[in-house]
């Protein structure tokens, strides 16, 4: 049986009972002290927060604490060159250098990121605290940075907080599915027809989704085995622009002869008492994501109404012969078993996603503080950044290479869109489509870093480095 006590808990668990998160972007100020700090975090004692592992034993932890190290962080700790050079290129180069692959251009380009992400060489460690309230976050932070000399906090703490019913900005429901892993107990056991992901999808040193293929495990084995990589991203969401676009798109649809095909059951089926325009706004919003706003019902199962009918599942569905738009966000990022161009790539680019919104909930009916920044503090975790996160970002999220009907367009929600060239096709019952144009970029990257999430053995190894 796999030893979950060796793996950081945020990789295999969702921490659903902890509605608050804080990310601390840290610079190692004292190499020797930082090693001692790491060793203590992994082994208990010395009044530092304990790393939460995947094995909770009998008691749920009150707060959770996890760390990720950048390449610069591993160097700052004095990891030998012979070991550093066994890490993958994309991790060594870092998120800044991979900007074009990730669509981080224009306003989202790394040179426009605010502190602490402006200066990637100084970002060594990202520590993440999960808790029930701010007092607990403060307490763990104080404990982690107690002596003020070992680690230097860069910029301010990045706080996120989950909204009721797992809602996120733009009004969608998040946290509905995650990959389930072979050999890992799945506490939620929701219906899901997708094949279980091999453990190597998320942990180094285990079988991967490509039969026979092995990713290189950083050396020595104690450092690499059971570790994984994380793309930490601060994603700003343009809530006002998004709501405005829904209105513009609804007005455009109302002028189309085939608009009735989009509301075959009438506007009331979308929401009691909604005007056709407001119902069409929801149709556009649902089509952009592939799930209806509020309920999270997949369009693959229910293309004409947002409410789940008996026998339907939020999680158990597939795309072939469904009316989910080919370019919808969730279909683009994980085409499940649907036909795609790259026949070997189905299920190969899956990611564990751990995200929490930041900024206050936005209510378009009562738009208070529209200028406040809102977004998602997100983590995309996978054993191979190049084969999973980057492959998904550059060929699927943007470009749309997986399906000839969307190639040349970007993800309508998350893509690097330019309103002058962007487009998105809404499928109709007749099989025809209506093309929406002029989508601006709704999500801007405001920072991020590639981090390595070491196993507990690896943290002890780093803590015991002598060089």
């Amino acid at each position: 049986m796999f030893n979950f006590a060796d793996v950081q808990g945020n990789i295999v668990r969702g921490y659903r009972g902890k509605p608050r998160v804080r990310h601390l972007v840290l610079e190692i100020a004292d190499r020797i002290a930082a090693r001692r700090w790491l060793a203590a975090c992994a082994s208990g004692g010395d009044n530092v927060p304990q790393i939460t592992t995947g094995d909770w034993g009998a008691d749920k932890p009150v707060t959770c604490f996890n760390i990720g190290l950048t390449y610069e962080g591993l160097r700052a700790l004095g990891t030998p060159d012979s070991s550093l050079e066994t890490f993958p290129n994309e991790f060594i180069e870092g998120m800044h250098a991979r900007a074009l692959k990730l669509g981080d251009v224009g306003e989202s380009a790394p040179e426009n990121w605010p502190a602490p992400f402006k200066d990637p060489k100084r970002i060594h460690l990202v520590a993440t605290i999960y808790a029930s309230d701010i007092a607990q976050l403060n307490q763990v932070q104080d404990q982690a940075l107690a002596d003020g000399r070992t680690l230097r906090l860069l910029g301010g703490a990045l706080d996120g907080c989950s909204f009721p019913d797992d809602l996120v900005h733009f009004g969608y429901r998040d946290n509905l599915t995650q990959p389930r892993f072979a050999g890992v107990h799945d506490a939620e056991r929701y219906a899901d027809g997708q094949p279980k992901a091999p453990l190597g999808t998320v942990l180094l040193g285990h079988p991967t989704n490509f039969e026979g293929l092995e990713w290189r495990v950083p050396e020595p084995e104690q450092l690499g085995h059971n570790g994984t990589f994380n793309a930490f991203r601060v994603l700003k969401q343009e809530v006002v622009a998004f709501e405005e676009f829904l209105g513009t798109a609804a007005d455009h649809l109302l002028s189309q002869a085939s608009v009735d095909e989009l509301l075959p059951l009438g506007a009331d089926a979308i929401g009691q008492g909604l005007s056709p325009r407001d119902a069409l706004r929801e149709v556009v919003a649902g089509s952009i994501c592939g799930r209806w706003r509020g309920t999270g019902t997949p369009l693959a199962l229910s293309p004409d109404r947002p409410n789940l009918l008996p026998g339907m599942s939020l999680t158990d569905f597939d795309y072939d012969s469904s009316r989910c738009p080919y370019g919808a966000h969730i279909r683009r990022c994980n085409p499940r078993g649907g036909q795609i161009v790259q026949r070997v790539a189905n299920n190969s680019r899956r990611l564990v996603r751990r995200g929490m919104p930041y900024g206050p909930l936005y209510d378009p009916a009562n738009p208070r503080d529209p200028e406040l920044e809102r977004g998602l503090l997100s983590n995309f975790i996978g054993a191979n950044l190049g084969a999973q996160f980057e492959a998904m970002s550059c060929d699927w999220l943007n470009l749309g290479l997986q399906d000839p009907r969307i190639t040349g367009s970007n993800d309508p929600m998350l893509g690097a869109n330019d309103f002058k060239t962007s487009w998105f096709d809404l499928p109709l019952r007749s099989g025809r489509t209506i093309r929406l144009r002029g989508l601006p970029r709704f999500v801007q990257t405001r920072g991020g870093a590639y981090t390595f999430l070491p196993s507990l053995s690896a943290i002890r190894f780093l803590g015991s480095l002598m060089m």
Partner: protein
């Protein structure tokens, strides 16, 4: 070119045309320059871009020198056989990769070459290629200098992708002066030198073509730019 009237200016201007000077240049001058100003080879593959049309129909020019013991008619015959024996599997594999327009194998002197036109990201192309037919292609790579270090490709995916990229030709930009910008960027120099008079046959250009002896010139001609292989197949009604 400066058009001075003095006999000395004329003499200098005529120098590059003199056979003796060409020899002196090639055998003495350029090696001395190269020794004084080391130039790193520029990286292979297409230029990174966010524009969708730039990421479709990219060209790979893979030049793999045969091992020393294979640099002979016998070695070339072995390479030809390695392709011929596995042709059906390689083609079926490329079909499954799904993003490849054309691919062909060529022997030039003692190099086995694969030229292909593919859509999307280079690493994704090569990774999917390994996942589909890596084992078969390994037989070809085994004949090539340095190939043993990245075999079997299925267990050395990252190293194999990097190796292929090193053997993919640097693609000279369509705008010749961008060549100089690439060179400056490689050396971490962000300020354009401005010394871009190509009619003077810049020393930088000569040294770079010494470091990258084989290059692909320009991004190439496309009869129907901006379409993926799957889009072409879909429109022709032949399935994708």
């Amino acid at each position: 070119m400066p058009n001075g009237g003095s006999w000395f200016d004329q003499f200098v201007n005529e120098l590059p045309k003199k056979p003796w000077f060409k020899r002196v240049g090639a055998w003495i001058l350029v090696p001395i320059w190269a020794w004084r100003t080391p130039v790193k080879p520029l990286r292979g593959g297409p230029r990174p871009s966010i524009q969708p049309a730039d990421n479709l129909q990219s060209m790979m020019n893979l030049i793999m020198p045969l091992k020393r013991e294979n640099k002979s008619p016998i070695g070339r015959a072995k390479a030809a056989l390695a392709i011929a024996e596995n042709k059906d599997q390689i083609f079926a594999g490329l079909d499954n990769v799904g993003t490849v327009h054309f691919a062909r194998f060529v022997i030039v002197n003692d190099n086995i070459c694969m030229f292909s036109v593919y859509d999307g990201d280079f690493s994704n192309y090569i990774r999917d290629f390994i996942a589909t037919i890596g084992g078969v292609f390994d037989a070809v790579v085994a004949l090539v200098e340095g190939g043993d270090d990245v075999l079997p490709s299925a267990h050395k995916v990252e190293a194999f992708i990097e190796w292929i990229r090193r053997h993919d030709l640097y693609q000279v930009p369509d705008t010749a002066t961008d060549f100089l910008r690439d060179q400056e960027a490689l050396n971490g120099d962000n300020a354009a030198s401005g010394n871009d008079d190509l009619s003077l046959l810049p020393r930088k250009l000569i040294l770079q073509l010494r470091a990258n002896a084989n290059v692909s010139l320009g991004s190439g001609y496309r009869a129907y730019p901006g379409y993926s292989a799957a889009q072409v197949r879909e429109r022709l009604g032949i399935g994708w």
